[in-house]
């Protein structure tokens, strides 16, 4: 019989959590309640004595100063309706896990198999609320039906039934393990049906390739010897589907593309990845020779570059878009803890140093009807922010850099980019730390969490658009503490040399992690029945591909096995020995000693047929708009500052711990009031050195609506511009490309696929051209290619988006420059020419136009400028430096002024620009590679000398009058705003979120 312990605040204690829920119900749903209070419920399904239950309630479960508790009787009173929200069976319940451990510490005995603590929360609503409204509150804000369930009772029902009865969300025991065989000797239509029904996301050609494989007499003969028939098992088919998924195999980037440039020229591109991304890095590394900073690129979970002679820096950025669309909190949380495992599990392992996050959402104030299955952008915003907050803060990793970009099309699928940087010694136990190699005979060891049904088909799910049947098991919740314990253990194991190789269990689960690590030895033998399960009833194929979180896989040599296992037990980390790496050439899985999967390593890794994709660029006839200049430029500037893509994100930034580890030297917020927007972050990872890591990014999806070539070029430039503005060394920096595209494969569903594929080609061409021009190698990246929503007739495709993240070095963090004006009397300079480039700009968008003149990057001029800025920083002659991006010069002037708390007086006639440009164009053009710099008057000569022969104009002064004054082209007073008004316009829009 399950017991219930209810814990609530004493009556006189303020319920801050309840107040926040009340506030958010108002903001999300427009429902005004009188009050909300909360009660925590622990449902204990375990053999415990009365005294033990009482001790748990009075001890770890409640706080004697502010809380009261009740056991098996209601605690709630004085409400109109009560909603209790708990998890569905099988969903990760972190609080329940901690509650179980707390009881075990108290009693000194472990729970028996199947015993558990489950948690839920009661919301006591007071106000004009009935059952129907409570249902709306539960489904629309308090709970997510995919992972949670709820019970609603009004006061009368509650009194009549004596409270909410205990219910135990235990996973119902599945049947005995069964291995099914699948007959592939069927028609093409049936092959596709098998793929669809099984959520395999394999196309016909791939299904036929598999069909042909099991017809091969040699394969059949070998299968016979192992007791397998000539039909594939479900384990084998699932393993193939995971390994061959777009998510794991990047089939679009590996495809053969016939590209027609729309002007009569065609070319065949054999793999975008090889032709542009890998080639850029290879060419740059070759050209740099001894100055090459790359140590490990593309082959591992993250890229590794040199930091100094003793340390290397590691960086990886991932997306977690599809899960975040279904459950924003869980999706984002697993996004961040997942990329943590990548950054840890690179080479032999690396200490986690910082997180970054970039989100693309629709406006939280979206007020149109939403298509089915989509969550309101406000809810996605809140859930994602909270997920990353919990993932980063609880893991003790500072979130140092990020942004939020808004476009209505991200209602179809939000983009959630999560990045993690880490730092590793150059060598560990005498060997390079960025390399690893599993050896024949090494044991396959899984550490961390247990396996459940969570995350099954995550890899194939994210390889499709969001549709009616998108699986709910793809949604999961992360557990940062279990992971933190595992990392604490693994870093000791690394330093003691207890493993030969390590990798993360992410998409595709064991199938991916073991399968990939086995490429070192060319084979493995994996015993699926030895894997620890969260609950009984998993089928062998589910164990193989489950994406349950917080797991790493290691190759542990037999001689170190005992020491490894003992250390794990002492540090309370669960590890299991699942088999061995072999040189058999086989992907071999067993269950209870019987072979359930045996595929050639060559076939599973290299057997996927190359896709062929048509790509056709077309001129879409964009034109420049004609409209009158605004009459009131002060109001226009305020309007620009209040745009969602420009306004302050402080309410989000403050929710992330950006300085744990005491290494964040330039924080996300800076300036006189600690609230100006930093361009990049500077991290000082070693206590005994002033060398630092600079992290920044660029992202400009709106330019894609005109030309993805210039979108990509601008994203690269923006990333580098932010990096240099803060002090990063342009000659010691590497890039990461994260593509998020809408489906670019022409089909019935996607009639404009060839154009989208051409957009992809053009972005890749720019990626190659500009990385090579800037000398910036790419070290890692990822693509997410199916960011579409399609249900019924409604299709929403995201704008093609590339996040370009950069990581590099600053020799001395004490030379970093921030963006805030420092003191009155300093001179204001604009570096770089301002051209009539408002196509795709925030300004045109505000006026309702797209335009045609998308910004173009002059890499040679930009590189020269960035190197000179570095020299000026080294000489200490730059007081502040701020990049010009969304909103151009007008926004940069305002931000520099109000962040510094000093006014600026500037003159548009001094701007380096072609004759005839209008004042509004000068103010809001988004020409790339420009920086706004302030310089002490006494440094004027030194500064100007450095920039001799470059576009460098003295356009104004920092003043002490608390205002921004801009003189127009006729010498008139074009802008005369008070800083407080500009700052208010900039801070107001998202302040309450």
């Amino acid at each position: 019989m399950a017991r219930r312990i209810l814990v609530g605040l004493k009556n006189e204690i303020r319920d801050a959590r309840g107040e926040r829920v009340k506030r958010e119900i108002r903001e999300h749903l427009g429902i005004e309640l009188t009050a909300v209070r909360t009660i925590d419920v622990y449902t204990i399904d375990a053999q415990l004595s009365e005294a033990e239950i009482e001790a748990a309630a009075a001890g770890p479960f409640s706080d004697p100063i502010i809380q009261q508790y009740a056991i098996d009787k209601p605690l709630a009173s004085g409400f109109d309706v009560l909603i209790e929200v708990g998890f569905r069976p099988g969903v990760t319940d972190n609080v329940g896990r901690t509650a179980r451990e707390a009881i075990q510490y108290q009693t000194g005995r472990r729970f028996a198999a199947g015993e558990a603590v489950y948690t839920s929360v009661q919301y006591l609503l007071e106000g004009d609320v009935d059952h129907a409204l409570a249902e709306k509150i539960a489904s629309g804000f308090l709970a997510n039906g995919l992972i949670q369930r709820w019970t609603i009772m009004d006061a009368a029902e509650f009194a009549a039934s004596g409270g909410i009865p205990a219910s135990v969300p235990k996973v119902a025991g599945g049947g005995a393990p069964v291995v099914r065989e699948i007959d592939l000797e069927v028609s093409d239509a049936e092959l596709l049906q098998i793929s669809r029904d099984g959520m395999l996301a394999l196309n016909l050609e791939e299904m036929k390739t598999i069909q042909a494989y099991v017809r091969d007499p040699e394969v059949v003969a070998r299968r016979k010897r192992l007791g397998l028939s000539d039909r594939l098992t479900d384990v084998e088919l699932e393993a193939l589907a995971q390994t061959w998924s777009e998510h794991c195999k990047h089939k679009i980037f590996a495809a053969k593309i016939e590209y027609d440039d729309g002007g009569g020229r065609t070319e065949t591109i054999n793999s975008l990845f090889k032709s542009y991304i890998m080639k850029a890095t290879a060419d740059i590394r070759a050209a740099r020779g001894d100055d090459d900073i790359c140590l490990s690129v593309f082959k591992d979970n993250a890229g590794v570059v040199r930091f100094n002679d003793d340390w290397s820096m590691v960086f990886k950025v991932e997306t977690h878009n599809s899960p975040s669309a279904l459950d924003p909190y869980g999706g984002a949380l697993t996004g961040i803890v997942g990329v943590n495992r990548d950054a840890y599990g690179t080479g032999m392992g690396a200490r986690l140093a910082f997180n970054t996050d970039v989100f693309c959402f629709a406006s939280p104030f979206y007020d149109k009807p939403l298509p089915p299955r989509l969550l309101h952008p406000r809810r996605i915003f809140e859930g994602v922010v909270e997920g990353v907050e919990h993932g980063g803060n609880k893991s003790g990793i500072p979130t140092v850099n990020g942004s939020i970009y808004f476009d209505e099309r991200f209602a179809g699928k939000p983009l959630v980019y999560c990045g993690t940087g880490s730092i590793m010694p150059r060598t560990v136990n005498g060997k390079p730390c960025h390399e690893k190699e599993a050896k024949v005979g090494d044991h396959i060891i899984m550490a961390g969490g247990r396996i459940g049904k969570d995350g099954i088909h995550g890899a194939t799910f994210s390889s499709e658009e969001l549709h009616e049947g998108s699986p709910v098991t793809a949604v999961q919740i992360g557990d940062p503490i279990t992971q933190r314990r595992m990392f604490d253990f693994l870093i000791i194991a690394r330093d003691r040399g207890l493993y030969n190789a390590i990798t993360d269990n992410g998409a595709g689960g064991l199938s991916s992690s073991v399968g990939e690590m086995a490429e070192f030895t060319n084979g493995f033998e994996l015993h699926l029945d030895r894997a620890p399960l969260k609950y009984p009833g998993l089928q062998p194929w589910e164990i193989l591909i489950s994406e349950a979180q917080e797991r790493m896989t290691m190759a542990v040599p037999p001689a170190k096995l005992d020491e490894f296992m003992t250390l794990a037990e002492e540090m309370d980390v669960e590890v299991s020995d699942l088999g061995v790496f072999t040189d058999s050439g086989l992907f071999h899985c067993l269950y209870d000693g019987r072979t359930v999967c045996c595929l050639e390593m060559d076939f599973i890794h290299d057997g996927v047929p190359q896709m062929e994709i048509p790509a056709r660029w077309e001129d879409r006839g964009h034109t420049e708009p004609q409209f009158d200049p605004p009459a009131d430029m002060d109001a226009t500037l305020r309007g620009m500052l209040g745009r969602l893509n420009i306004c302050s994100k402080e309410s989000v930034v403050r929710r992330y711990d950006h300085e744990v580890q005491a290494a964040t030297v330039v924080k996300p917020l800076t300036g006189a009031e600690n609230d100006g927007p930093s361009d990049a972050a500077v991290v000082r990872p070693l206590f005994d050195s002033f060398e630092g890591i600079v992290v920044a990014h660029g992202l400009c999806p709106r330019y894609s609506d005109i030309d993805t070539y210039h979108m990509m070029a601008s994203a690269i430039d923006e990333g580098l511009r932010n990096f240099v503005a803060t002090g990063g060394n342009i000659d010691h920096v590497a890039g990461l490309d994260n593509f998020c595209w809408c489906d670019p494969v022409e089909s019935e569903k996607t009639p404009d696929g060839a154009y989208k594929a051409a957009q992809l080609v053009r972005a890749n061409k720019a990626l190659y051209d500009y990385c090579v021009a800037f000398g910036v190698p790419l070290i890692s990246g990822k693509d997410s290619m199916k960011n579409d929503y399609q249900i019924g007739d409604t299709k929403i495709s995201i704008p093609p988006t590339v996040l370009f993240s950069v990581i590099g070095k600053i020799e001395d963090v004490r030379r970093a420059t921030t963006m805030d004006a420092k003191r009155p009397g300093d001179l204001v300079y604009l570096l770089g020419a301002t051209l009539d480039e408002l196509g795709g700009s925030e300004y045109y968008d505000m006026q309702g136009f797209l335009g045609a003149n998308v910004p173009r990057v002059d890499a040679a001029a930009a590189l020269r400028r960035y190197r000179t800025v570095n020299r000026a920083q080294a000489q200490g002659v730059i007081a502040s430096c701020h990049d010009l991006s969304d909103g151009g010069l007008g926004v940069a002037l305002a931000e520099t002024a109000f962040a510094g708390g000093f006014g600026i007086r500037a003159d548009l006639r001094k701007v380096d620009a072609p004759a005839g440009m209008r004042a509004d164009a000068l103010l809001f053009s988004e020409s790339q590679s420009r920086l706004l710099v302030t310089v002490r008057a006494e440094d004027r000569a030194a500064f100007e000398k450095l920039f001799t022969g470059q576009s460098c104009r003295h356009i104004g002064e920092v003043v002490d009058d608390g205002g921004l004054t801009i003189v127009g082209l006729q010498g008139e007073l074009l802008v005369a705003s008070k800083l407080e008004d500009l700052k208010e316009a900039w801070q107001a829009p998202l302040r309450e979120l």
Partner: protein, 275 residues
């Protein structure tokens, strides 16, 4: 060697700030500044008896899943040391009885309060008499706050100090105690540091200067001996001028961050008055 100051920072189960706390101990002149995983203590290979200065660092013990540091406090109370009759809690009580120093920051402060180590009026270090609860905002926040030091406090860490500036980074930092305990804290000057106006002139309840709504603006408390001290703001996050959020615009900031002063007072106390 009798003057060797030995500091220990306990790590594990969600402790996050152990490295920077150990570094602060090093910079403050502690001769030994070991980071010890709690598993090492429970294995019996390392004992608190070997140290003078115990640090409970910030983080999220067990995810703060049962309320901040609740599960962590439960573990320290009940966890037994392998191969001995002793519990870790017994070692800790002996450590305190020996007149040694214990400092908790953020989650470490929450842990001390929930174990009963603070404010421990009357020297009872086992009974919880105060708590730290959800910020009035209902949210986690990272922001720098000015703290005013009570000059009459017995706290050994804040001797000679007046105004401090550190970041808070917490969701559950609102200090609450019953009327009797609160009166005793005030009477005995145990409310060592309070959130204050930026000039350090006056304690304040105004958000965001007081980021969580703590009673009487209390940001940190000590026991009556002044040797046990905990606070929500993070002194270990300000040990160098480049930690200060405005270091690029305030050239007059000293090289050394003011967080170091607290650690140095602790180390000096051990060297001069304990050893």
């Amino acid at each position: 060697m009798s003057k060797t100051v030995k500091s220990i920072v306990i790590s594990g189960n969600g402790t996050n700030c152990e490295r920077e706390v150990a570094n602060a101990c090093r910079l403050a002149g502690s001769d030994i500044y070991d980071i010890v995983h709690v598993a090492e203590l429970l294995s019996g290979r390392v004992s608190l008896d070997d140290y003078h200065f115990l640090h409970l660092a910030g983080g999220f013990l067990d995810g703060d899943d049962l309320g901040s540091a609740k599960a962590g406090a439960n573990r320290l109370r009940h966890a037994a040391i392998s191969g001995s009759e002793e519990k870790l809690a017994d070692q800790l009580q002996r450590f305190i009885a020996d007149g040694k120093l214990v400092m908790g920051v953020c989650n470490g402060f929450q842990l001390m309060v929930k174990m009963g180590l603070l404010p421990a009026i009357g020297g009872d270090y086992r009974e919880q008499t105060a708590t730290l609860s959800f910020n009035d905002s209902g949210r986690f926040e990272d922001r720098w706050c000015t703290l005013k030091v009570d000059p009459e406090s017995p706290c050994v860490y804040t001797r000679g100090l007046d105004t401090l500036y550190f970041p808070v980074r917490h969701g559950e930092g609102k200090f609450l105690a019953g009327a009797e305990t609160l009166a005793a804290i005030e009477e005995k000057h145990l409310g060592v540091v309070r959130y204050s106006t930026p000039d350090g002139a006056a304690a304040t309840m105004a958000y965001p200067l007081n980021p969580n709504g703590s009673q009487n603006a209390i940001a940190g408390v000590c026991d009556e001996s002044g040797r046990l001290f905990g606070l929500m703001p993070h002194p270990e996050a300000y040990t160098h001028r480049t930690h200060h959020p405005r270091w690029t615009r305030e050239p007059e900031l000293p090289e050394e961050g003011m967080g170091l002063w607290l650690y140095r007072n602790g180390v000096d106390f051990i060297r001069n008055e304990l050893l």
